[in-house]
Assembly symmetry: C2
Homo-oligomer: 305 residues x 2
């Protein structure tokens, strides 16, 4: 019996409620073997496309108020969490092996002095013209940047997670062998001011939040499920080579040589390194399609101390 954190990409969840429900039936089947083996499981999911959609709905709608980004993130936790717990419940019932499962609305602490706040870099929401962008900067104080010729977009900071505020609920539920969905979208980012928690417009990388989760709950493994079978070096070149079983030292040397793509494999690698170095446990990056094999360490890239 082991304790796992499973990190699930928001891009694997489709573009609307119907697609998301359908795709999660598949995810539930992939995760079920782990449930049946009675392991402790926490699921952390991404929310990039979904929080973008929610933010866009409020931006475009004429009659609704402005919805701050932290609140859009909270909404995405409800939206995606509902579908995950529903899909896994249904899968367990159909396989006659039921364990309680619940989503916790989760705040994740970040440091207001995190250097990321000085250099907001994570694009969110819709595209605007230069004139609209300038107006948003003046009226809302948004940082707007030109995005690859497609127009102007708001950027927010992507600070590092320090703590998960609702951790004691997560731990209590794990003790009862319940399955927990938490820190969705990397968590609702909050800073501490005069000991009070205040929501901020930022995005916490969900892989970094997963690594923090794995550290806090004392996980035996952090499993990042994505769309590729293995991590590669020299990706998309004739020298391309898949990594099967690698040490922290090896991965760090590849990292130094810029083998991993920013905004895609890089944060996953960094999150795994953080977790493995801090805890001496292992991390796995694998294809969601082969999740069952990955849990048996027969597929995916394993990073160990």
């Amino acid at each position: 019996m082991s304790r796992y954190v499973i990190s699930l990409g928001g891009n694997a969840l489709g573009n609307d409620a119907k697609e998301q429900k359908k795709l999660l039936e598949h995810v539930a089947k992939a995760i079920f073997p782990l449930i049946k083996q009675n392991h402790d499981i926490v699921i952390v999911h991404g929310n990039g496309p979904q929080v973008g959609m929610i933010n866009l709905a409020f931006s475009e709608s004429k009659s609704t108020p402005i919805m701050p980004f932290a609140e859009c993130g909270a909404m995405s936790q409800g939206y995606i969490g509902f579908h995950i717990q529903n899909a896994i419940y249904n899968e367990m019932i159909s396989k006659k092996h039921y364990r309680p499962i619940t989503t916790l609305v989760s705040q994740v602490l970040v440091d207001e002095k995190d250097p990321a706040f000085m250099h907001p870099s994570k694009p969110i929401g819709s595209f605007y013209t230069k004139e609209q962008a300038d107006e948003l900067t003046i009226k809302q104080g948004y940082t707007m940047v030109e995005d690859a010729g497609r127009g102007y977009r708001r950027v927010v900071a992507s600070p590092k997670p320090i703590d998960i505020i609702e951790k004691s609920a997560i731990l209590s539920l794990l003790e009862q062998k319940q399955i927990v969905i938490a820190a969705g979208g990397g968590g609702i980012p909050v800073i501490k001011k005069d000991s009070k928690l205040i929501g901020v417009d930022a995005v916490i990388d969900k892989d970094h939040a997963s690594a923090k989760m794995a550290e806090i709950i004392g996980a035996d493994a952090l499993v990042i499920l994505t769309a590729v079978d293995y991590v590669f070096i020299n990706f998309n070149t004739p020298e391309q080579k898949k990594l099967v079983d690698v040490t922290v030292a090896e991965v760090e040397s590849y990292l130094k040589d810029n083998h991993f793509k920013k905004g895609s494999m890089l944060p996953k690698i960094e999150a795994c390194l953080n977790f493995v170095k801090k805890t001496n446990q292992k991390a796995v990056i694998a294809n969601l399609e082969h999740a069952a094999l990955a849990f048996e360490q027969k597929s995916g890239t394993i990073i160990h101390p």
Copy 2:
């Protein structure tokens, strides 16, 4: 040490994120005395205006997909739950008396044969013209009705809650003296089909959901916090009389004489009667402003067996 379910109206939460945050600071102060006395506490909140706002944002926005009502409800649980747990956390920290608090995304089971599904009556979302309404009926299968001369609105069913799917998580957390926010907006309504849970477009009355919650967790009292100090009979007439301490039999006789207004006091009264009759415990309907007094049974209407 007692176990309480506190039912909080969605109308008390303002019209946007900023207002909601501000108003919840006040709610947190009102509830704090109960937390300090170390009682078990589950908070159920309404979501009428909030889920309407979310639904409206998706309806009006041109670039986002249609968002089914069950999913809008899930979003509202994240949105409101985040603000409640944040406000109560901050209040506890400032009073130096901390207990963990978390929101659970909650599905509530309803019966697909509930007669309410034959007579959808709960208006939700925006107003439409006759032509738009007809189109929505044809394209989306919505039931649309004319609403008091203000245009056409969609109506959905308001079925009775049968069970709370995530109840074991709620009970586990209560055992650990954690404060739980659950079944927000009455819960995400789901029906059972071939043992699977399926989200449906419906609205569960939050007072009825609170009564079901109180029954399931074995609460000593159901406390419905609202905007009036007492329940009245002959309301707004010269014979108006406040009810302070009444039996089920008395309330039932007033109910028969139509003393309570549909859509406002009536569901609260029915929910209280359900709970008190089933459990022989007591129910309180009181003003949020005097919550602390209400918990000591020094304010509000108490209904007992």
